[in-house]
């Protein structure tokens, strides 16, 4: 809960979700949100709720799929996992993101 948290950049959330699912397999919404917070070392300010429209958006594109299941703690929850199209999409999105990041890095480089 530090002061230096930044907002999640539009569109990056989708990629974060995809990557999370790729590395962790099937997860429910809370776990995905927590995982993203942990990976970012709590530097991202994220209303956990914003994950849900993103999850829906990915479902509508058929990149991920959802189904009800039981968590380790015995709670009923909706679990999300990657689809075939989603797996392929990660590569493209990653490249996309790296290109943007590289471009930004060049802009921000002090010696420019």
């Amino acid at each position: 809960m530090g002061e230096s948290k930044s907002d999640v950049l539009q569109g990056t959330l989708d990629l974060m979700v995809l990557k999370t699912l790729e590395s962790m397999g099937s997860l429910h919404g809370y776990a995905i949100a927590r995982r993203i917070e942990q990976v970012s070392d709590n530097t991202l300010i994220m209303n956990q709720g914003t994950i849900y429209p993103a999850l829906l958006r990915l479902q509508q594109r058929k990149w991920i799929k959802a189904g009800w299941g039981i968590s380790e703690t015995g709670r009923r929850a909706k679990f999300y996992s990657l689809c075939r199209i989603g797996r392929k999409q990660i590569e493209m999105e990653t490249e996309n993101w790296e290109r943007i990041a590289a471009t930004m890095a060049r802009f921000l480089a002090p010696s420019h």
Binding site: H28, G29, Y30, A31, A33, R34, N47, Q48, G49, T50, Y52, P53, L56, R57, Q59, Q60, R61, K62, S71, T73, R75, R76, A77, K78
Partner: protein, 900 residues
Amino acid sequence: MEPIRILLSRCSALFRRRNLDEDLDAELSSHIEFAVEENMKRGMSAQQARTRALREFGGVTQTKEAYRVQQGLPFLEAVLIDVRYGLRQLRKSPAFAATAILTLALGIGGMTAVFSVVEAVLLRPLPFKDSGQLLSLHEWVREDPHEFNVTAPDVLIFQRESKAFTGEGGYVGAGYDVTGAGAPFHAAAERVTASLFPVLGVDPLLGRTFTQKEDENTAPVTVISYSLWRERFQSDPGVLGKTIDLDRRPYTIIGVMPRNFEFPLDAGRLSRRDLWVPMSFTPVEKNSEGSNYDYGLVARLRPGVSTAQAQIDVNRVIAGIQPRYTAVAGLHLQGYFRTLKEETVHSARPFLNILLGAVSLIMLIACVNIANLLLVRAASRRREFGVRLALGAARRIVLRQLLTESLLLSAIGGTIGAALAVVLVHAAAVHLPDSLPRLGEIAIRWPLFAAASGFAGVTGVLCGVAPALASMRTDVLDSLRDGSHAAGQGRSQYNLQSVLVILETALALLLLVASGLLLRSFAKMLETDPGFQPQHVLTASLSLPRHDYPTQQKVDEFYAELQRRVETLPGVRTVSFSSNIPIVGQNGGRLITPEGHVRSVGEGFLIASTYLVQGNYFQTLHIPLIRGRYLDDRDVQAGAPMVAIISQSFAETYFHGKDPIGLRMKVGDRFDGPMPAITVVGVVGDVKQGALDQPTVAQMYEPISQAAAALGPMAAMLGVAGNMDVVIRTADDPSRLLPSLEKIVHQLDPLLVVSRAHTMDEIVAATESSRRFNTAILTAFAAIALVLSLLGIYGVLAYAVAQRTREIAIRMALGASRKVVLLRTLRYALTVAVMGVVGGLIASIGLTHFLKSLLYGVKPLDSATIAGAVLVLLCCSALAALIPAQRAASIDPMRALRAE
């Protein structure tokens, strides 16, 4: 690909909204619980854990909203909300909704159906290639007012001589007993020249049509209709080359016409031809100048030739024919043409135009009624809008909802109207009278439905939204202020409504007068004496093929034996035969010249419908004898003097009231010709030759045994009279006799077909059906118009009473009696009705003459009918006003004022 996937997902979500919402709720609450669990593990209290979880989640409601927006189609959902709201509003006032929807449905449905029929019958081009270029040629002689087709020799002359056309096809009706294709039956056929099908530009579905050679050589070939092919040959593609027997002569099938092909396009359902054969004029036909004008001639106008040029060409050809006519019969021949389409539809036009006019009036009344209803509704909701606007509702949203409501009414009304139109068009195809052509082409025309719906929709929007818009422009406070709605704007709206009701009433009266006139005509028709007694009479047609009955003697023997055998059947009173029967008889006739009659220049011919009879014809039909005697056995004997019986109108018209018994006459246009003289021995009553509402023509009866002799040198024209109608009077139900009749006929000749077997009652009823239909439909329209306009009157008064409750209450508090209040309300209703009546009367005077062609025995301005219509309208108006008037009179002034 992706956008489509997303759209599909969003659309499908629309229909699973409730499930998805529950799903989301469950998911979000499980999320919170996970968070609470984790927080508590970190040592927070339950309360703290939950607060923290909710804070980290962000707004649950916002998330749900964002989720929903992502999930569904937001615009559509707003519309759905409006629709739901609109439906709720309509459900809240079911009487208004039902009336408006029903009115719209009647208007739209009726309009669509009638326009579809009119389009199919009157407007659509004929189903031939470039059908606008097809003309139907006619001849007429200056000496006679009747319109003719052309003669057989003239068909050939036009084919040879005319230059304005690319082709001419001749045709004439024929009938054949068909054997060798299932059960024997009598086929309606058409003899056509080889050029006919090419002129029409129609190709056969299978095979080919006739060649010129087949036409010239009387080749026994035939082209059959699609329905004959389907029903008798089970759509066998190998039908070509098979033979069927027409009048017992084998004909080879060389072609099958397409399903919708119909030619000629005569009125009615039973007029469709089963087959076509080559014209192959006989030598007698080729030499029959000026005597038989039964041949149709259709020509295709040469491209680039104007109709005026074509007329000049026709005149030129006629001028070439003319000398021979002058020589033979002293006739002055003229030629003219009209388009084949005009020829086909002109007889149907008056009725359909009237139908169209009537249904347009209904549509107009329906729209006026809708306008009225919506005005009332908008006014009564002025306050509601005021409240909503005052509470901060956006005008845009209120208007959108109103618009949705109006469109909703139109949509529901339109849907029911569409269903109604489908039913009506279907019914029309089955029940429209046989006096109309092209009934097979009738189908619903959806563009017309769209037009009618659009018209109604625009009315709905204008009348539903415009007043609301106007009332919103005015001060919101004004509409909320107590009592103000009874004055000012309310008053001007009230006047507008009165005008609408007056209009409605006027239109309703017009339709009432029209239907009254038709009802009176129908009653007159039913009262008309057909001139004979149709009860207990069976008729049927027999046509003895010339091949097997080559001489008159053979024919006579057959009929004599048939008569002898039928007379022995139980229940048979009398048996007779005639070449012609009443009601459905041939109006054609013979030229007759009484002795001593000198035809003055320009005088028309004396023409009489001829009945060649055998047996007790008059006794069978109970045609009354007025003077002299009936035909009897002495007239049948060899060498008997030539005699005839004439009808009363014949005696009056041609013998000018002299006692005609014993007077002589001759067939032909002169008495000094070579024809044998015929002596009149009796006068009988006139019979109706056509439908009961058709005028009577002069009739004469001759014994069949003398028929050939009466024509003298022209006897060859007649040929052998093998086609006769059997007419039998029975003691009881005549239709029960039919099986025995068929059995006897088949004993005499197993191949002979008994066709057109009907009781005389059926025949009379069938000719009434067209008028019965016209009358019923116009009466139904008038009833609808009346109900709609009464609803209008009721609506306006009910509104006025509701709006003026306060005013009426004050009056009553100040001493006005209930009676005065009641009478005041009724007086308003009657004032409006009387003004409507005046308008309706003016319209009736201007318009009923269009009905003339449908009237029988009644003048277009029949005072009794008009008086009746006015009375009905005024009484009904008073009744419609009574309910709101009584409500006004029963207002309790104290309670009403306190409520305000």
